[in-house]
Subunit: 341 residues, 6 copies
Amino acid sequence: MKGLKDIENIVIEKKRLLHSANHEEIVSGLTTDVYFLRTMDILQYMGLENQIVTAEIFARKSGVFAGIEEVKNILQDKNIEMWAINEGEIFQSKETLVRIKGSYKEFGIFETAILGALASSSGWATAAKNVKVACGEKTFLCFGARHVHPAVSSVMERAALIGGATGASCVLAAKLMNIEPSGTLPHAAMLIAGDTLKIARAYDEVMPDQHKRIVLVDTFKDEVEESLRIAEELGSKLYGIRLDTPSERGGVTSYLVMELRAKLDINGFGHVKIFVSGGLTPEKIRELSEAGADSFGVGSYISGAPAIDMTMDIKEVAGNPVAKRGRIPGLINNEKLHKII
Amino acid sequence: MKGLKDIENIVIEKKRLLHSANHEEIVSGLTTDVYFLRTMDILQYMGLENQIVTAEIFARKSGVFAGIEEVKNILQDKNIEMWAINEGEIFQSKETLVRIKGSYKEFGIFETAILGALASSSGWATAAKNVKVACGEKTFLCFGARHVHPAVSSVMERAALIGGATGASCVLAAKLMNIEPSGTLPHAAMLIAGDTLKIARAYDEVMPDQHKRIVLVDTFKDEVEESLRIAEELGSKLYGIRLDTPSERGGVTSYLVMELRAKLDINGFGHVKIFVSGGLTPEKIRELSEAGADSFGVGSYISGAPAIDMTMDIKEVAGNPVAKRGRIPGLINNEKLHKII
Amino acid sequence: MKGLKDIENIVIEKKRLLHSANHEEIVSGLTTDVYFLRTMDILQYMGLENQIVTAEIFARKSGVFAGIEEVKNILQDKNIEMWAINEGEIFQSKETLVRIKGSYKEFGIFETAILGALASSSGWATAAKNVKVACGEKTFLCFGARHVHPAVSSVMERAALIGGATGASCVLAAKLMNIEPSGTLPHAAMLIAGDTLKIARAYDEVMPDQHKRIVLVDTFKDEVEESLRIAEELGSKLYGIRLDTPSERGGVTSYLVMELRAKLDINGFGHVKIFVSGGLTPEKIRELSEAGADSFGVGSYISGAPAIDMTMDIKEVAGNPVAKRGRIPGLINNEKLHKII
Amino acid sequence: MKGLKDIENIVIEKKRLLHSANHEEIVSGLTTDVYFLRTMDILQYMGLENQIVTAEIFARKSGVFAGIEEVKNILQDKNIEMWAINEGEIFQSKETLVRIKGSYKEFGIFETAILGALASSSGWATAAKNVKVACGEKTFLCFGARHVHPAVSSVMERAALIGGATGASCVLAAKLMNIEPSGTLPHAAMLIAGDTLKIARAYDEVMPDQHKRIVLVDTFKDEVEESLRIAEELGSKLYGIRLDTPSERGGVTSYLVMELRAKLDINGFGHVKIFVSGGLTPEKIRELSEAGADSFGVGSYISGAPAIDMTMDIKEVAGNPVAKRGRIPGLINNEKLHKII
Amino acid sequence: MKGLKDIENIVIEKKRLLHSANHEEIVSGLTTDVYFLRTMDILQYMGLENQIVTAEIFARKSGVFAGIEEVKNILQDKNIEMWAINEGEIFQSKETLVRIKGSYKEFGIFETAILGALASSSGWATAAKNVKVACGEKTFLCFGARHVHPAVSSVMERAALIGGATGASCVLAAKLMNIEPSGTLPHAAMLIAGDTLKIARAYDEVMPDQHKRIVLVDTFKDEVEESLRIAEELGSKLYGIRLDTPSERGGVTSYLVMELRAKLDINGFGHVKIFVSGGLTPEKIRELSEAGADSFGVGSYISGAPAIDMTMDIKEVAGNPVAKRGRIPGLINNEKLHKII
Amino acid sequence: MKGLKDIENIVIEKKRLLHSANHEEIVSGLTTDVYFLRTMDILQYMGLENQIVTAEIFARKSGVFAGIEEVKNILQDKNIEMWAINEGEIFQSKETLVRIKGSYKEFGIFETAILGALASSSGWATAAKNVKVACGEKTFLCFGARHVHPAVSSVMERAALIGGATGASCVLAAKLMNIEPSGTLPHAAMLIAGDTLKIARAYDEVMPDQHKRIVLVDTFKDEVEESLRIAEELGSKLYGIRLDTPSERGGVTSYLVMELRAKLDINGFGHVKIFVSGGLTPEKIRELSEAGADSFGVGSYISGAPAIDMTMDIKEVAGNPVAKRGRIPGLINNEKLHKII
């Protein structure tokens, strides 16, 4: 995409399966806002299309930086220079996170895509970091894929791993990070089998020995009663119990965790871990962790984390400091920046 | 993807540009959570993989329904029946929105993708509807693409159009909905040209006659002074002024809109519309609309709208009503449902 | 008790079982505050002990009047006249509720006992009335005896019946009101028997046919699972299920009531009533009633209701209006008063 | 009371004076809830009536322990063992306060009475402790008898003494604790005499020399003016002035205390103490104490203190740990427990 | 004062008594801000001193208009035209209240004085109007002179009369409005005489028959006791009692008013009015009026009322509409304006 | 003014320009409340007019003391003794600030004037002190004259100087304090000239060299753009820029100050100071000071500061301690007092 004319040539296939953009569409500029194409036409008309500019990206809130790998790939073949801070680094409000220098026509139309990639991944990574701090030494998985579009569930889980998540249940995300996907069993499996014990037995028989068996217990019976049934059946092969009591039944309380821990211990199942999920927030995790929970599944706190909005400002044109009203002209230095293109 | 074995065969290309999933990856099940594959292996081991089940999807909050077209495409070749309410319909908490009947192995692994598609699109459409109600007869565009991953900016803008947005600035989204993309000019254009009047002149000369010329005025000068300079230059060809005063300068106040309207009118530019953007919410839109604004650009209120979390419950297995603890067993009827597969 | 000298003659038996006062102790004035005895000595010294006075009792808050029967019995043999409003009547702040006329020495030392009897009973009756309003046509029992001293549990349950309770579980209270005591079975019974079903069977066999069998189900198993086990065993003889889920497990939620109702109905037990208890307030009762609960057990909302403090003012001395600073001298008429002594 | 049959034999005398229970009624089990009698019949039918159980009592809030002497007397002739913490000890939430071991039939029907005795006395003692902390070295009396039923005013004053009150005005309570009752004079005395000075003179003449003369001054005149009249009359024999200004006149303010102190001192009555009452709370006591008040009379803050609800859980049956859902099975140790039966 | 040079000639007398400005000082421009003189010098240098301009005055809040008579007198000899709304009229936010047309040099330096006169008087008049609304048909006096500088106490009382006060106690203010000053007696009189009754007698003997005798009663004794002493002494000649109980003694409560009314009536003094003062606000007046108070003395609610800040904008220069940023250029019409110069 | 008779002789001139009181009127007692004159007549009638009394003045809040010079001048010729603390001293609630001893007839009628002078000046001085604390080493001017009556603008500015203001713009106030008046230029000057640059040039040419040129820049153009135009024109002669952005345009934000500072520095105008005004409070000043503002203009925070109400109590009559109810009789010592008359 170079200008308004290119719009006319776009054809949407009748058989298109999804409304999300494929990689080639994004990299070709198809997801740009139309006014960037219009800008290209006008700058060319004014003879300014080759103007060398420097743009800087900053956020208005602090957070954990993520998404820059995608930005690098989008711009890798352009005739520009680019500097950025590292993925996983904590940044402050108004700090320069990315600097791009080159002819505006090389990267101008990608402003929307670049900011979107950084804003969404950094938002997710920041929420995961908050969870990590609440967990301390304990582990957590991101369970939020069901709340985001499938085109970005792998992006979100990858950002959660950058922020501190212990594993990914999304197959694609795990593969992207070169780890094995992890998770338990869904309520659907229990409902089809009709009995948690029956499916736990089959699960035990099917899975390889080294697999950590974790069984979800709130589908049919009292959670503690069901846990003891499963523990008696699987014995030392049972790695953990997952509590996911629905809000209609009062959710997972810290007392339930304490009670399950005590009754597992009394009955000789001190080795069985307790894994909890369902509407968890850092505050709730702190409370349940103190009550004895060993691991956590976190959904909408991460998936619904607000994007950390990013702003790209042109700060130099032809070597001269500029800025729009409300901003300080000229580059703002940041020692954490390093050259990536 | 049919089971855990298929995971081993997945290869991530070294040159992969982005972390988001392409259409074929989604439709092949690659974004599924690993526990659905594990469930498949276990059910097969138990001889239950062909069990006929009926699942229902509901939300815990009311909203505007969107995203079902993608769900239909994901499942179109499966041996199932599916019912749903229409895109754009308003739904209530706990209402049945989608019903799927068939062998669990046909659709089980898509639970995550289906819920994610519906939850995100319905969240965006609902926010857009709130904006629409605040606008009344006036128009608004969605300016939120810069806050979401580029893979889903087109999904978001499409959902905003379903919820009531007047147009789309994302080129791909506009094409998906078969309309022309719309928008103004970015601050970058002004900064490169160095003067708003200069670029307004070029913009006027480059664009075809029928194009509605809207000029962004807050880059360099007092907004009202700049507006009058532009209006005197473009005269009757100027369609509108866009105010986007940054928060550092107090944002766009209702008094600024009133003052601009008065000074445009006094100087004979009563035909020039006022378009505002910058941190708008339905409440702020009501206030600015009353002050005389004609049209609105809405960003993070739509892009950052929380997903409307969806739940898929198996409600019948082999024709018998079932439910997990906390839910009512059996189908829950909804007259708005109609068969789509 | 006539004066300070009588104090010297009081002997507390070594074997005294309880610190509460027996009827004869109260009626003889033993629970009076010492300053009333001192007053008697002084008035006698001044020759004022036969002064005819009129005293009036009022409350600073509105409520339901109760306790006057006890007051009447305490003063029945004295040489006085007394007027009062009826038990069960609603009164307003500052309304005259009782008027006593006679020589001060006849009733002065009973001021503390009289006010205490009225304040506590009226407080309990008022709370019970609030519960009654929330229940509408449905029934409720008072379960608060375990929060008050055993000397007054019968007083409290009687006041609750005056305020609108449907029955009393305290044996003495029921006998006082000439009705049969009612209630279910305690958790202790289930714990000793070790299984709810086992004890439900014995309960069914032991009780006469006309007894309404209500079984408490939250001791060992999931409430709904246990309810269905009991219902299948007792069939049409089961009158109701009692839910008393402890707060450690999230308490009784309105969703649990809805789920139990639905699953009882689906399984053919539409005749079984749902009885709930545990931290109920009028607001919570309204919510659970709407969800399908049929009857309620209310504890600390009634037992812990604040007493409605009563004030006794001398308003006439020797036929002349008097009052202390802050009060209006002379009698304050109330048409609801009628002569009871 | 051994079972349901015993209910039939209960006869309520026509001449019964009060609704409260006498000591023998309580000890015979007459105030029990009917479901404990029903439980006895069922357990006997099941052959479980001699089952040895251990029950423990705990509270959900912290407080000051009181009431155990009555519990000991109720159970003293039963074939059980009992352990408890001391009266007056501070306890924490969920701490084991009492443990009872024996055949359930020996103590089961007393659950209601035991919990009620502990809950109410501990509630009152805890409030009195809060007052004590606010008073520091200064003294206070409990004036709350007029807000509770006369059957328990002695129980309440005794609990207040355990919590830290300096004396008791209820004659019976004082005798129970083997101290002299204390207090001032009521407004009624002043109103009958018609002049505070006149009654103060008679009071002085009637009382023995060692009696501490305290005169209530707000009945007729300005409090300070009246205080000086009394002080001039009684001179060095006046021990203190009591301020009880009614809320209709603004209550007792800290400025009134300061003014009275100053004017007493200026007029040579520096030895006269200031005693205040009327709606006092710990916070108000701190303020008035700082202003110069020497002693306090506290009513509804103590009498209306919420009972500290107690729970009795069966934790062992025939030597095996048990618990209902929501609780941890087995005994919970507490080093403060000591054997009392 | 015409320019900076005139400043040099100003001499402050050594014997100057007060820091406030006398009338001639104000009218000569001596209280102007120095930048208006500087403006004069510059405009003259630019040859713009005779420019004809139109200025308008508006407020940002609604209120009652007052102070324009002084403005008229300040500008009466200038070569200008002036329009204004009437004193006592209610105005809305942003309404044009005054319009001045003429050569800027004629009135420019008076901007500060004009705005100050209007802002302060309108603030006081508005507060008085709020009191008037709360009083309904009853009367009130302004008692706020002790909280403002003596140079403006007459201005404040005059504004209060415009807003609705019934009379003025400030002698000068009364004379300005051509009425007789009114008021009661101060605490100082009572303290010097040493007894309220003694001074009430002298007051009665000294004053002419038609004078309405009102006696302040809270200096030494209980208010009600003192009131009855005075009423018995003065009989039908007593017009009213004034209650001013200090906050140290709880202030004047509505119960005190009720009690005084009742005791006056019982003792045959139904003709005696009750006048209250001390920290009154419209809300408190409503409460005391309902309790029976007949008239009110209002201090800091009026004297401390915030000035209603006024803004003077130049809206036309040489017949052309102008405005600074943030304002609408050109005259804003108001039908309530009429020509006063 | 000696008594009620003197009122009859007062004549208000028809041509009276203003409602405020001139110095002679105040000193002659014309602004007194009528009840002081009445008191004089009554005391004379009682033969008490020569009674020697001691009165003390205190405040109910802490603050900065001001206004005593005027009080001294009012009473200087009277036959009294007077002690006071110094102007500018900080005082606490209830501290004795002034003591006056003498025959009541000498100073009684001046109570209102004395309290008003002290209350208003101390209120203004206290607010100015709060501003001073917020400014730290930086300077501020009082801009509040337009919100108070012109008779007291000089009193207010003088009090602000006592509290810590750096200068006065009111000509009379400056002269009273023997300093040069200071300030910038009003919007009116800009509007008449039609261009800020034009008037800045004239201002520069007219003013003497040593004058600190400060130019107000928000009248017509963007504040930063205008500042740079002025700075380029006046160069090193420009002392400062004044920002006064109206609330309609978002007011002066800390970002605007930062931006202006940065752009002045970038363009070589590092010597130019930034002066801000418009709705400033101590909190806002702290924020803007941190952002780089160098000096402040404060209006309604000072002019609208509540008066610090003063109370004058007679504490000795003929050498004996007295007090009204609610106060402590006798003198209250204060080491800060020193004799001034």
